[in-house]
Amino acid sequence: MDKILQTIVIDWIPDKAKVVDFGCGDGALLRILAEEKSILGYGVENDPVKINGCIKNGVPVIQQDIDECIQHYRDMDFDVAIMASSIQCLRKPRNAMQNILKVANECVITLPNFGNWELRAGLLRGKMPSSVQLPAKWYETKNLHLCTIVDFEELCKEESFNIKKKVYLNNKGASSWLTNTFPNLFAAEAVYLIG
């Protein structure tokens, strides 16, 4: 995870929180959160290589498919649920969104913005767009449900999800006048605190 993005996420998570990270990768974020915020964190991941990274990192992890398991994480007293760049990989992102707020009081969601001008330009050239956030070729990508910032915020409105905080970042991981004024065009990534 990009350093600036990481700083934002860490800043939003309270000390000693009980945290679940859906799509936790090798557990790097949870490890930092454990060190800096003394959280009790669990990762959910389905890739055996990444899971072994978690075990090596000493991060508790559960090998499961997020689409299938997310509803089982209710009633576990989580304070915060994180879904960092994973929502677009899910088969049922809407279902996951509906569930995630039942899993925890608050959730942190980060997503790549498919409306970003570079991606639009790629498509204009007649090619499947790629960027730092979306590096994979069309035939290799794990992304099933990409969306733009406008799309995502529309879904939040429809589902009455309360966006408590949001930050738009450009492809250098920085927030600027451009990203804040025209996020759907200039932000490469969006970070939300939903509660």
Partner: protein
Amino acid sequence: MNVVSKKILFNEPLTLGSGEMLPGFELMTETYGELNQEKSNAVLVCHAFSGNHHAAGIKEENAKPGWWDELIGDGKTIDTEKYFIVSLNNIGGCHGSTGPTSISPKTEQAFGAGFPEVSVSDWVETQKLLADHLEIDCWEMVVGGSLGGMQALQWAISYPDKIKKAAIIAASSKISTQNIALNEVAREIIKKDECFHNGDYLSHGETPSKGLKAARMLGHITYLSESNMSKRFGRKLQDPQTKMDADINYEVENYLQYKGEQFAKTFDANSYILMTKAMDSFDPAKNFDHDLVKCLKSIQAKLLIASFDSDWLFPKEYGLDIQMSAIKAGIDSTYIELNGEYGHDSFLFYSNDYSVALKNFLNSNG
């Protein structure tokens, strides 16, 4: 690899969970590697239902290697160059530790069916005495598969500060009704052997080997996966030259006959009954209002819970059930699902993912 086999005598009487008492007992042990000066590199390996203390290495020429030799040894998953591994035969067993074939000091005859009921907790208590004897204050890891995994879990519950990590493999916090049913059929088969004599076959100079063999044949089917059996035997016909019995048609029949017969030569029928009873009764949550979450709350050790996808005897839901309760309890616990082609028995065999996970877990800190 430095291998030491030793029978250790414990003179103090041991009160079992059932209230019955053993006046003293012996544990047959095997250790691999060297205990470091700080005594901080000790790993306890707990055997499964029909296992024993011989977990690694080859004792004599042409003999079979230990049951977990694929994972224990110099440079292996549980590295004997780094760790001191302790393995033992549990009481009630039949490979050197005090069990039904041992002589009771009271009657000066074999305990036989009179051997007291033992439980997973009782085994953990004897293993704790063994740790004290070896002056090991805290295990770096306690590990086991199946019934061995139950012992690892019980350790984490019974002695929160005496164990840093528990690897609970192909195990469960209590077995299913179906598991109990299968165990009961196996016990019934043994008891119906005409040589069983209500468990006192030793004083009759007989052994119920036919019953033991048939019980093992049934058990063996449950340890393998259907796909593994199909792949290995299919519907291949047995070579008439090597048939164990004239009635045999298929290779799989011959295989089960052979495995059953080999087992019956080395295993004791009363031990079989007693070990399956210990498995049936394992349910640590029952002391905590049947609430597994409550039961796991005091655990300080890190847990690694591993299930195998082809295991239908102890399916992944069992492992996940412990994991979900562990999360509710707020303890450090990881759950992984491994590919294993051998069904329940997959825990016995090396595979890359299995080995990497276990190795990373053992070597992780913090």
